[in-house]
């Protein structure tokens, strides 16, 4: 059970956009990490784009993404990276995706797990909800997290990193 939930850092994308958002030098004083994103991409003909999170410098991961579009029967696929999604340029104007990534035991030097919840907002067909699970084979504590847009994250996209301490 989490006993503290502390904001480590946050950033809001300014005019002109950013192609990626990185948190570096993540402190080793917590037990778990939670990254919360509100993102919209400057490209994409559909409602959403699949985008990747790089852990330290590593993109590869094993995972399973369960998703439902418009509340239809759930489907799934197995990405080979930590894959989430952001609102594409063709989605309803000014809507942003909600993404939360939870990484327990991020200081482990063994295989780490991560889970994510993703909501793509759209005032029409194409709403997408995702539940994701990943394993990250990386022999080091996590010190860097980078999320990369398909093109650019637009202005007012945000990213916040929290640390959780357990007793």
């Amino acid at each position: 059970m989490a006993t503290t939930f502390t904001k480590i850092a946050d950033v809001t994308v300014g005019a002109g956009g950013q192609s990626s958002i990185s948190f570096t030098s993540i402190p080793s004083t917590f037990t778990d990490l939670v990254a919360v994103y509100s993102l919209r991409d400057s490209t994409g003909a559909g409602v959403y784009n699949d985008i990747n999170i790089t852990v330290n410098s590593q993109t590869a991961a094993a995972g399973r993404v369960l998703y439902t579009i418009n509340g239809t029967s759930a489907a799934s696929y197995s990405p080979t990276s930590v894959t989430v999604a952001d609102n594409a340029n063709a989605s309803t104007a000014n809507t942003f995706s909600n993404i939360q990534v939870y990484i327990p035991n991020y200081l482990s030097t063994g295989v780490k797990s991560a889970s994510a919840e993703v909501a793509i907002e759209n005032n029409a067909a194409g709403c997408n909800l995702q539940l994701d699970a990943f394993t990250i084979t990386n022999g080091a504590a996590i010190t860097t997290l980078t999320i990369t847009a398909l093109a650019n994250f637009v202005q007012y996209s945000t990213a916040t990193l929290y640390g959780i301490s357990k007793s």
Partner: protein
Amino acid sequence: MADTKVIVNCETGEVTEVELTAEEIQQREDDRVAYEAAEAEKATAAALKAEAKAGLLARLGITAEEAELLLA
């Protein structure tokens, strides 16, 4: 305006905007083209499958709901 990425140093709180290198811009473009091609391929496959399903139902003379009942 130059393409940039943002880096937040959690230790110092410093937020830095870094210009993308030519290689990074090319990689991003390659990734975008590959992703959009894969998505288009998936959409085409889904449309073909839906078309085949509709044709089959028409030949059988039943609705999708009736087909679901048969398979339940």
